[in-house]
Chain length 210, copies 2
């Protein structure tokens, strides 16, 4: 597939979602899956699945389905998740600790290589993953030589902008922000915000429909 | 607006996203916002904003913009987030603790009224929010009389299905699942899965584009 083709944002997000059941199927040695079944597993319309996958050329065999292994590999290649990514994390409260232990990160080759906090009580603590929590002052000198491209912010809101600034000074290009605040970043840095209540509002909307 | 109108899923999700900067604007007493500016604040195409809002009738004044307060109230009404929702949570490890303390839940009228864990060391602990952690055996008898409609699962994967079954026995109709596992639930129960790595894969895809 050609990266010059402009792929719609929702398609990119759905590709990551299609990869989830495919991982399970490959593990269970199921070799072929129909678009209907995959759609059902992901709670997406089958026509949407076929349309999304058509962006990347011919995957499926009409009337048979997709080879699970081939499709998974192709999606990983498209999403660049076929390699290991190193991540640093700022904010080692309950959320930060939950994130470094989250099995999905490990399973998908995201590796935490540095952890930071501004709270003197946290600094120096050894985490269950083996990392030692460092101070904010250590961010640039730790992250820069490791060439870490992705940073996660899990601080309280009042510390998030400072964390973002330090990460950018350290050459980080992409930030996953869990702090409930808007970050000001230059154009060259990509920020994705995670807000749990967006999902909750979806749920509530559908709850009223029942 | 009429709930019979079938509103596309992505529109519902974006409405929750539009509400975020609108809350800030209302707080800052900014009375009017253009679709261009709102789109920019949410990282969405302006045409998309206008199209999404058009589902719900006439909000904006051409050439002027939207009244921030009116628009926010209308979105909240559509999403049913204009009332207080009570929630229970199962799994009081680091993630569970982070969730009950998350400011976005408080800010948006989601109130945690019960917390459960299967770990004997956790049961009986008093949380910073004031709740006391109860055992799995207490789920049905606690949740049922409180008529709680929404449950959050933040257990380890091996406990998630048991948690879901107990929540459904207790009359819960909607589950926000943070455990990295697929839950089997009857059709009448809505499940939204939260997988942080989906967002990360989005980031990584765009990182390769830079």
């Amino acid at each position: 597939m050609n990266k010059a083709t402009k792929i719609p944002e929702p398609t990119i997000e759905r590709l990551a979602i299609y990869a989830r059941p495919l991982e399970e199927l490959v593990r269970a040695k199921v070799e072929v899956i129909s678009s209907e079944k995959l759609a059902q597993m992901c709670d997406v319309n089958p026509a949407q699945v076929r349309k999304d996958l058509a962006f990347f050329g011919e995957f499926g065999v009409r009337g048979v389905g997709y080879n699970t292994q081939d499709l998974l590999e192709a999606i990983r290649k498209i999403l660049c998740s076929d390699r290991t990514w190193t991540i640093c994390i700022v904010g080692m409260g309950n959320l930060g600790k939950a994130l470094v232990d989250n099995e999905n990160f490990k399973k998908r080759n995201y590796r935490f290589v540095a952890a930071f906090d501004s709270n003197p009580e946290m600094i120096g603590q050894q985490l269950s993953c083996g990392l030692t929590v460092k101070s904010f002052e250590d961010i640039v000198k730790t992250v820069l030589p490791l060439r870490i491209e992705i940073g996660i912010i899990a601080t309280r809101p009042s510390k998030a902008q400072q964390a973002a600034n330090l990460l950018m000074d350290a050459g980080v290009k992409a930030v996953l922000n869990f702090a409930p605040t808007h970050l000001r970043t230059p154009e060259c840095c990509i920020v994705e915000n995670v807000d749990f209540t967006v999902k909750l509002e979806n749920l509530v909307y559908h709850l009223e429909e029942i």
